[in-house]
């Protein structure tokens, strides 16, 4: 069951096509990574989900029915370009933004109390936003985003501007949110955090979806038969043991332990590779290297860029 679905969405700005026949489906309870290089159309898609802009063509569904204006109360959005009124007091502002999202005054006050205590920032209530550091402002911003307890949360580059400690708190909160049943759409260039948090991804490039699916499947699809071998002994013997079907991509040494990255050129099993080298060196560890999201990202994007230029 998906919480949000977009079908064949198209959006043009004058002659520029920002989204070309884009369809996405966000499963309920997932952390959904929306990836793509700058200018791919991610922000446009996110703005369409938030009903900031309307698509030229295509259909949008929220929780199985067509998306409607009141659904903004069921979506929490932390934009990449985010900020607060600098001259306004923290508490007053949080209350204002919550009420604009349709939370009643009493509920908003109750929830704000809870979150301010949880983040230990009660003393900020009467401070002006401009008196807070950037990291502090981000915390307030985060609280404001989730205060109306929406079933769908959208974070656009949420970690920019956070120090590692606060980024960790934020990560934890995102995972907590998912535990509680919220769905998170997560747009970022930080592939490390994608691997860590997401279980679904959609990759957009040049206004089109070029890759989508569960993250483990994606990584399996793009594995490129590379193995990492740690061993002690003579690296020359290893080289001799491997025939032309194998290439050693790199060989490094650290305190007597060698690490080799081996690429298999033909379809061979791990066992076959191991049997070839088992007598040449002393094996400490051996594992297949799954491609990181970073590599997949670069590979897929470059492939589509080439096919476009051709």
């Amino acid at each position: 069951m998906e919480i949000f679905r977009a079908e064949n969405v198209e959006k043009k700005f004058g002659d520029f096509v920002a989204l070309d026949n884009v369809s996405i489906s966000v499963p309920k309870g997932s952390v959904f990574g929306l990836l793509g290089p700058n200018g791919a159309g991610k922000t446009t898609l996110i703005r369409i989900i938030n009903q900031i802009t309307a698509p030229d063509k295509g259909a949008l569904f929220f929780d199985g029915r067509p998306l409607k204006a009141e659904d903004v109360a069921r979506i929490g959005y932390l934009p990449e370009e985010r900020g607060l009124y600098k001259k306004m007091k923290v508490g007053e502002q949080a209350l204002y933004l919550a009420r604009l999202r349709g939370v009643s005054k009493n509920d908003a006050l109750k929830r704000l109390k809870y979150w301010f205590e949880k983040f230990e920032i009660q003393t900020w209530w009467d401070k002006k936003v401009e008196e807070l550091s950037k990291g502090m402002q981000q915390k307030v911003q985060f609280i404001v985003t989730i205060l109306h307890e929406p079933p769908l949360l959208i974070f656009d580059e949420p970690f920019s501007g956070f120090d590692p400690i606060n980024a960790n708190i934020l990560k934890q909160e995102i995972l907590n949110m998912r535990e509680k049943g919220s769905t998170v759409i997560f747009s970022t260039h930080n592939m490390g955090s994608v691997e860590e948090l997401c279980n679904y991804i959609t990759l957009i490039n040049k206004s089109r979806v070029i890759l989508e699916g569960e993250i483990s499947q994606v990584r399996n699809t793009y594995k490129s038969d590379i193995y990492e071998l740690s061993f002690t002994g003579d690296p020359e013997k290893l080289k001799l043991a491997l025939n032309e079907k194998y290439t050693i991509k790199s060989l490094t040494e650290n305190q007597g332990i060698h690490t080799a990255i081996i690429k298999v050129t033909e379809q061979v099993t791990e066992n076959r590779l191991l049997s070839l080298i088992i007598n040449s060196v002393h094996i400490i560890s051996f594992q297949e290297v799954l491609p990181g999201m970073n590599d997949i990202f670069i590979k897929v994007v470059e492939e589509t860029n080439q096919s476009v230029t051709l």
Partner: protein, 456 residues
């Protein structure tokens, strides 16, 4: 509470609670009051220093003719050498020397005042009036006319012109060009001021939202149009609040200051008539003796004028005036406020606003120029057209209304203004909607045109 009213409330409260609002609210009336009171005060304090003037009268006709006033005293010297006196008058404690030649009756230019300072006009006037009167009296007396005083009193006439306007239905209405002018000018100028002051605030508010990057958070909760209108309406209310406070405070200050510093000015016209010396304080003696009649006449002349002014104020259709003031006030502000909002949305910071401010500023300034022209000729084609064209009508029409404007012209001008502000608000909404989410882009008119054509 609806989202738009939440926005209006925030825009209103944050501005009204600002220190600068408080400062402006207090300073404004003090400045206005000062503009009204200071000239009166200056007129009063000017020359409080007592001046002793030596009079050397070689004609021998004017002994004790020039009356002393509050701060002018005249000492008539006999057998003084004027050349010597010119060098020694200061040492002898005189402010100046008045020399009247013996041929003054047929050579009026031979009265000379010597002083080391330039005497004020009031000093010169005081002296020349007294001398003229004396010479006139003497010349008249030379004709040996019987009952001269009675004849003079009955001959003296003062004309003050009353203006009557004949309206279309044939009835006559008394009008007063001066009052119409003042009321029209004040309201036209207030509208101009309001549009500029608070239109610019709308623009700055939008730019602030853009630069603080809150705008995308906002438009994910509310429609950009709601955000824009909330801001425009909120600031309009701030402006109205400020003006109402200004008016109340200005009148309070003026009344209090007048009552404490110049009690004679706050007397009612009747009191002034009963107590003429009050009005002629700087020439207290003018109200005595034979001059009393003249003074009395001046008073009744003043009374007529005051009455005329009051009648003229009554005559300006107060209902139409207030109604149209509020209408043009809001209409003009909404028209320009939305354009200012569009500019704020299109640019990244205030320095980039110049190129877009220009076409907005021009019609406003033209409006002010036409307004000045309109005061002199409220019925000219120039005044007519600029009071119909919506970009200038809020300013120009306000000046014409006190002079009387046919209702069809008012209706046409109002209808066009409404249509235009609906159009500009729609247009501004389109530019605003795209602009607020656009960062770091140098925007020109071609770009704006593209935005207007974007679909939602």
């Amino acid at each position: 509470m609806s989202k738009t009213s939440l926005i209006i409330k925030r825009e209103y409260l944050t501005r009204v609670r600002k220190k600068s609002f408080l400062v402006m609210t207090i300073l404004g009336p003090i400045l206005f009051a000062a503009m009204m009171i200071v000239p009166i005060w200056m007129a009063q304090i000017e020359d409080t220093e007592e001046k002793l003037i030596a009079v050397v009268d070689s004609s021998g006709m004017f002994r004790n003719v020039i009356p002393d006033s509050e701060n002018l005293r005249f000492e008539y010297l006999e057998n003084e050498d004027i050349e010597l006196l010119k060098n020694t008058f200061k040492a002898r404690g005189f402010y100046g020397v008045l020399y009247i030649s013996h041929i003054v009756t047929y050579a009026p230019n031979t009265v000379i005042f010597y002083s080391d300072k330039q005497p004020g006009i009031s000093v010169n006037m005081h002296i020349s009036n007294a001398l003229e009167k004396e010479i006139e009296d003497r010349k008249l007396a030379a004709y040996n006319i019987e009952n001269l005083d009675e004849i003079m009193a009955s001959v003296k006439t003062n004309i003050s012109i009353r203006n009557f306007k004949i309206t279309d239905d044939g009835s006559e209405k008394e009008s007063n060009a001066g009052v119409s002018m003042a009321v029209g000018y004040a309201s036209g100028f207030l509208i101009y001021l309001f549009i500029f002051l608070f239109g610019a605030q709308v623009m700055r508010g939008v730019i602030e939202e853009k630069t603080s990057r809150i705008v995308e958070v906002m438009v994910s909760s509310v429609k950009p149009f709601q955000l824009m209108m909330g801001k425009i309406v909120g600031i309009a209310l701030v402006g109205l609040t400020q003006f109402v406070l200004w008016i109340i405070l200005t009148f309070t200050i003026v009344t209090v200051v007048q009552a404490t510093l110049f009690p004679e000015l706050s007397q009612s016209p009747t009191q002034q008539a009963l107590n003429p010396t009050g009005l002629f304080e700087d020439g207290g003696q003018a109200a005595t003796g034979e001059n009393a009649a003249v003074a009395q006449e001046a008073i009744s002349e003043d009374m007529v004028q005051i009455q005329n002014v009051l009648e003229a104020v009554r005559d300006i259709n107060i209902g139409v005036m207030i109604g149209s003031f509020i209408f043009y006030f809001l209409g003009g502000y909404l028209l320009y406020g939305s354009l200012f909002a569009a500019i704020g949305g299109a640019v990244d910071n205030e320095t980039d606003t110049q190129q877009f401010m220009f076409p907005i500023t021009i019609p406003l300034i033209i409006g002010i120029f036409v307004m000045i022209n309109t005061i002199n000729s409220p019925e000219s084609p120039l005044s007519f057209w600029f009071s119909i064209i919506p970009l200038t009508s809020p300013i120009v029409m306000m000046v014409r209304i006190p002079f009387g404007v046919p209702y069809w012209e008012l209706a046409l001008s109002a209808a066009l203004l409404i249509l235009t502000f609906i159009f500009t608000t729609w247009l501004a909404g389109k530019i605003y909607r795209v602009g607020i989410l656009m960062y770091g882009k140098k925007v020109n008119y071609a770009e704006l045109w593209k935005w207007i054509r974007y679909k939602n």
